[in-house]
Symmetry: D2
Subunit: 396 residues, 4 copies
């Protein structure tokens, strides 16, 4: 089909033309001043998006998974202990990576649909009198379940227990879409990628590292070269890059940040909240509920919809793709079949989102699920039309 | 806003990526063989789209309006009589052009919402014993009212009256979207543009001319150079073009035709019917009706929706643009304010169309019109999901 | 070949990426405010490029040929007399158009290689005591021979003879590349197109019209609708366009003008002079000479190179295309075979121009012409390297 | 400058439009069948480009440096011995990476300008009776010096000594440009990137791995997750990818391979030889010589030009960038200042290459080096014009 629908997967996200064009540039010499004119502002802007003044930004031609590896390999040594919770596929994968890098991972198993268990984390920190835990790993937005964790709460737990562990946050599907405050929350490493809130193609791992994380670099014994912060730092200082950078993507990142910052991060977050709330109203209109256990856990970038008893979420995703050429996300791991996922991050309008909800409804009807056509759409319409920001503000 | 909604104006239409890329090409020498490799297949394909084997195709760097001028100036002389009907803004404009070119235009005034009045046209032809009428002008699809006229019926009227007048058809908003059969219908000149069913940017006037029309060229006294068929013919025969062609658009036209013909014109027409019928179901769901007076007149490319008493269609169009960044068409001329127009031609999916209907609904609610949110969307959803073609067929 | 050489035809010219991207935009509603945000600044910028404050600008979805037709049909009536000279293919074609529009064309036949014959024009104006001559037509830059005419000189001739005729100038291949001063030179209509100095695809006819030309509109009896200034004016005044505009090209025109005006028109002219002068040095290095009879006639946008006795310029053009995938221009009309043409306007660097000269040299050697490989290149290199503007200035 | 010159750095290379467009695609669901339609043929084509039937291909969103890391971390364990030679910056960097990953690197120091020292390598293998050496690392094309090493010769050395070590080859700047035969040469891991012979943006590490290399995976103790072949294999088998792939680049890779394979790899290699030989003729024309010590070592993708006594190659590179907006490569490491580098790989025509040579000449003159303008260009012209392939063959 050459007619094109928006996608509703939880990333990669729909890309505005202006950002696609910024990525699609002719070859330029990455050892020239022209590269500096792209890279330096991109890095400076990412710091603002992360809300950090004291941290440093590192950008690798890689993905979020590479970002996780950069986070641990630059700061930890084999045998080091890290504390984390497993409550979805992406928190699981980071745990798996840590284990494969021979870290000692202290895992708090948590129900999928819940977020980071603050009480248990604090208890574990308190119990760790000898400060064996070198880092706490937290998945800010669990993409598998549409659950947001309370990163500020983890920081408070660390502070209350006077624990010196570093705080590493997977913000792949939250940063540039949902509230994220690296400095205020005392995040030591924040990891994200290009293909979510930044509305770019996949291909960049983007990290912020606090002074404390940087101080851990020289002691860290995990081997790394491609992902080595030290090479990056040295090259950046000289206006360069330690190997061939993805110049087009970096230019896209610069332009994406220009738009996000012009809009204002609080407005960007509010925009995502508003689109997401419309989706939640639609779900309620269908008589269904999100996988996230309570409103404080609701993600503003992805919603996993719990399907009715006896129904299979994966069927809906397959049908939507096959019959309507529209992409949603299947349930993964513990919630496979039990949910389908609607991505609602990046570049979306009310109209685009309504088209996704309308197709989801048609699929439900096609599959014989009990849902009235138009019921979810109407609920979302009602919310969108009454919550619309004034055009002047929307003109970002 | 850098987030992008589809447009629902009755042209220019939404452009698929593959066609945009075909238009956006580096400069090439239009006197080289490379140009022939673009132009010759484009012309051959347009003949198939027009369903003509005996006609010739002319393509000008211009628009549909230029196409109208090419049609009359290549075949007629000042003082010549043409017969036509006025039932919308676009039939009106062609009449105006003829008058400015000092043709004697015999106009049958027809209610806006009706199509070409076959009986009156036939009566006029019959009354014209001396065959003063040199051409009958017909607007196949009146974009102002969403009315389709019966071109085959006009041909029958000409045949029944044994009238030798040529038949000129404005197919700007029908060709490549709705059934059009140049040879079968005995059309002498068909006029269209690039920015409608061909899904290209505006910039090309595309004409088919029958042998009879071509035979009129040498007698025609209306002055023309830019639009002269004779220069075009001479240049085409030599593999060239009489002046600088719009090479990128022509390449886009070639690629567009490749897609249309691979899909099959009957499938293209069926696709437009299906999208249009969903729109009509939505309108009925809202308790409203099309401007077109009866189902046989319904256009499959644009619907003018008659707004409730006391409401103003232009308000809806303004609000949709301002609040939801979505483009519909206002009512023009006799139906200004009384209708708003939904374009549904070119590259559209069910999902895209539903997004347009959903926004129209929100605007009605915003304006205090009596409409239940979701009512039109649900009616369209019901139709779309039960009429969906099998994916295999849709894979064009 | 998917490897791409620049073109060296005298238009369309090489297009910078930034301008291609400006043309390649998603469909937007041309009846919306967004269109005004593109069109109004484009028109305002074109006025600056034309160096007119008192004139008005009209832009048609057409080409330079259409621009010629707009010029005459908006201001003249059948039987009106115009005065002009024929000294190349493009002056010839304008004459032909005037004759086909039944104007009385008083032609001064002039040797191809010469420009507008000021003395003879002045004599003809002087002899026209009854002021039958309504307009003088002048081809500023004859693309066929690479000859620049002295438009200011024609204005002086009109002034000295107190002749009220209008002055129409074909600036298709000069405007936005070579010095052009509409107001200072008293030009009544200036005609150009998008695909030369503006570095855009073909598809726009661009005209400037003086108050005197506009005053002639209502008396002009030549029929026109598509090209009617009056419809344009009325629509422009309402922030619109009389039919569907070529929005992408207009956006490209806006961006092109932004770059040209940021560089400064005098710098743009100087840049073209410099590139052209390098070409002329190369030609001298080959022992050849331009078709233009004397240095004051040299065009800075195209050079027609007179080939050695017994050689055929068309052979070189064919060989360059076939063997080296490079496009030059053949000789046309009176100078067919006797010259080949090198276009050197629009977006070109020293390096690009040298690649064209190097290929021309290789072709000469291939064809057995007497030329030392590297001789022309070296002459151009010597000029370019010693005349290079400071980088700071070149950074436009 | 918005006017664009080709680049002459040894990668990233100039990108043809058709490949840029293939990379610039709208977001699609990488868990859909559409992804398989891109990825599977890309992988199959890369196998053909590598000339392997028995090997498997792995593609990471990374760069050549990441490819090196993938090669060692998937097959080796800390403390393992590898044998290699250092004769340029890129062989040096791979050694450095191995040391940082705690491999025991047996380095044969070799003069920069020489290639892999076959005799010394064979001697070292022979001396290694206990087969401590697990892998021989070879830089096929040392980008710093423009030296090609004899990979088949290393294979013969391994065979003659009956040594079971694996053979890992850095083919980043050779593969898809110069002869490379993975199976015939018994290469166990071949590493390359997207931004050289494949004419794509940087962002993909591309590897071929032999069955022997794959057999080493399970024993390998170096930690890796992002670069783990095992995850890739498992996902590929299921038609997927272990994390978010760079879909646009992969589509570009597919299209690039389509073009390369249609041209035929032998023709691609011949094309690079021919362009390179023209550069070498030019260098001789200047009275200079390549850094590569003898003709058998000449690289066909990059030439490091040894500058005259008392001159500094870096000055030329700076001047070219600043004055002529043209990018060459500086000398690195041992040859810093002593050479400048001309990249001549990827998408280049004779004309483009001549423009680079012409600018290099102008810079030499500007810097007061003894060189006759046109001398190198003429030598290259002479070679190019007499070695041009027939147009029919060149039409790939």
């Amino acid at each position: 089909m050459y007619h094109q629908n928006p996608v509703f997967i939880p990333g990669p996200t729909n890309m505005p033309d202006v950002i696609r064009k910024a990525c699609d540039i002719a070859t330029l010499d990455h050892r020239s001043a022209a590269f500096g004119g792209i890279f330096a502002p991109a890095v400076a802007s990412v710091k603002k998006v992360l809300a950090t003044e004291t941290g440093e930004v590192f950008i690798f031609p890689s993905t979020g998974t590479g970002g996780w590896e950069a986070a641990i390999s630059n700061t930890l040594s084999p045998g080091d202990t890290v504390l984390t919770a497993r409550f979805g596929m992406f928190s699981h994968r980071w745990i798996d990576m840590c284990q494969r890098h021979r870290l000692n991972v202290q895992v708090i198993e948590t129900h999928w649909g819940q977020g980071a268990p603050l009480g248990q984390l604090e208890a574990a920190l308190k119990a760790d009198r000898d400060h064996m835990i070198k880092a706490v790993l937290a998945t800010h937005n669990e993409t598998a379940t549409g659950v947001r964790s309370d990163i500020a709460g983890i920081r408070r737990a660390l502070d209350r227990t006077n624990h010196p562990a570093m705080l590493f946050v997977d913000g792949v599907s939250s940063i540039a879409s949902m509230e994220f405050r690296m400095d205020d929350w005392g995040v030591d490493i924040a990891v994200t990628g290009s293909q979510k809130g930044f509305m770019l193609p996949a291909g960049l791992a983007i990290l912020g590292a606090s002074p404390k994380a940087l101080a851990a670099m020289d002691e860290a014994k995990l081997p790394r070269t491609f992902f080595d912060f030290r090479d990056m730092r040295k090259s950046y200082a000289a206006g360069g890059y330690p190997y061939t950078p993805a110049v087009g993507l970096l230019n896209g990142l610069k332009v994406s940040c220009d738009h996000l910052l012009a809009e204002g991060m609080e407005s960007v977050w509010a925009r995502h909240y508003r689109i997401a709330e419309g989706v939640r109203r639609a779900i309620a209109g269908w008589g269904l509920r999100p996988c996230a256990a309570s409103p404080d856990l609701y993600s503003d970038t992805v919603t996993a919809v719990v399907v009715p008893e006896g129904c299979n979420g994966t069927d809906l995703v397959k049908l939507a793709a096959q019959k309507y050429d529209m992409a949603f996300g299947v349930g993964l791991g513990d919630v496979a079949g039990k949910v389908f996922r609607i991505g609602h991050l990046g570049s979306l309008t009310d109209a685009m989102m309504l088209s996704g909800l309308a197709v989801a409804e048609m699929c439900m009807a096609d599959l014989g699920w009990k849902v009235a056509l138009g019921s979810g759409v109407a609920a979302a319409q009602d919310y969108y039309r009454t919550s619309a920001v004034e055009p002047a503000k929307a003109a970002a």
